[in-house]
Amino acid sequence: MKILIALLGGVLFGLGLALSNMMDPAKVLNFLDFAGQWDPSLMLVMGGAIAVTLPGFYLILKRPYPLFEKKFFLPDSSAIDRNLVGGAALFGLGWAVAGLCPGPAVAGLASANGDIIAFVIAMLAGYRLMAMVQARSAA
């Protein structure tokens, strides 16, 4: 069942990105470009999503555990530290250069666009490299 839920979760997420056209880097970049032809669409995508998660998560997290697992897998850390802010800044930089964040980039593989495929491979390389650096510094 958990596998089917994950599949459905991916399908809904992909449909949401496609319907809202957030898979188009031009649309994302125009949202970030307040001084240009500003396209507020992304704000409503996030707003629509949060309008669902805010009350939904509140109700779900009042339960002791999820339906198909013995516990919620939530982040352990609540620290607001250099790693969080530095990482978010690096992500913001890369996001603004290409107009792609991880969701639309991975969904965009469906278009078989070579530039997007290269972006995703580089993204995975960066992610794994940082994971190795963190594992080494923790050892």
Partner: protein, 147 residues
């Protein structure tokens, strides 16, 4: 010239709510945060049931986007890549480094973290939004980089 896009409030709201619904079922049934950088970034090193659900989510994500591209009118889903291949590779690398170091992206921190009212995720979201807006301003209006 950069590609002009139209403000599409209804499809944006509808698409956003589908993304929120995805996050709800992932948390309510499986207890998982629907953060794409973590789900996909940890694919290569996962085994067993961890690998199975991550792969399943990723397949669903790509397959539904593929179906939409095939079935919807061409103008409904456009993809304009605005930078060249080397720049895309550098940007992808930065996104990978940053989402691992900062423990999340637009979905994990933005949609799910804010949904949990996590101060950590709100800080991260504010940071990447401000950095991204400043970066686009510098690229387009200070440096005046053209397509």
């Amino acid at each position: 010239m950069y590609t002009a896009t139209q403000f599409t409030p209804w499809s944006a709201l509808g698409g956003g709510m589908l993304i929120g619904l995805s996050a709800l079922i992932m948390l309510g049934f499986n207890g998982r945060i629907a953060g794409i950088s973590g789900i996909v970034g940890n694919l290569p090193t996962s085994r067993g049931s961890e690998l199975a659900w991550r792969l399943s989510f990723t397949v669903g994500l790509i397959a539904s986007a593929f179906a939409f591209l095939q079935l919807a009118p061409a103008e409904a889903l456009t993809i304009h890549v605005e930078v060249g291949l080397p720049t895309m590779i550098v940007a992808g690398f930065l996104v990978g480094l940053g989402t691992k170091l900062g423990s999340g992206c637009t979905s994990g921190h933005g949609v799910c973290g804010i949904g949990r009212v996590s101060p950590r995720s709100m800080t991260a979201t504010l940071t990447f939004m401000l950095v991204a807006i400043a970066t686009v301003f510098i690229i387009r209006h200070v440096l005046g980089v053209e397509l």
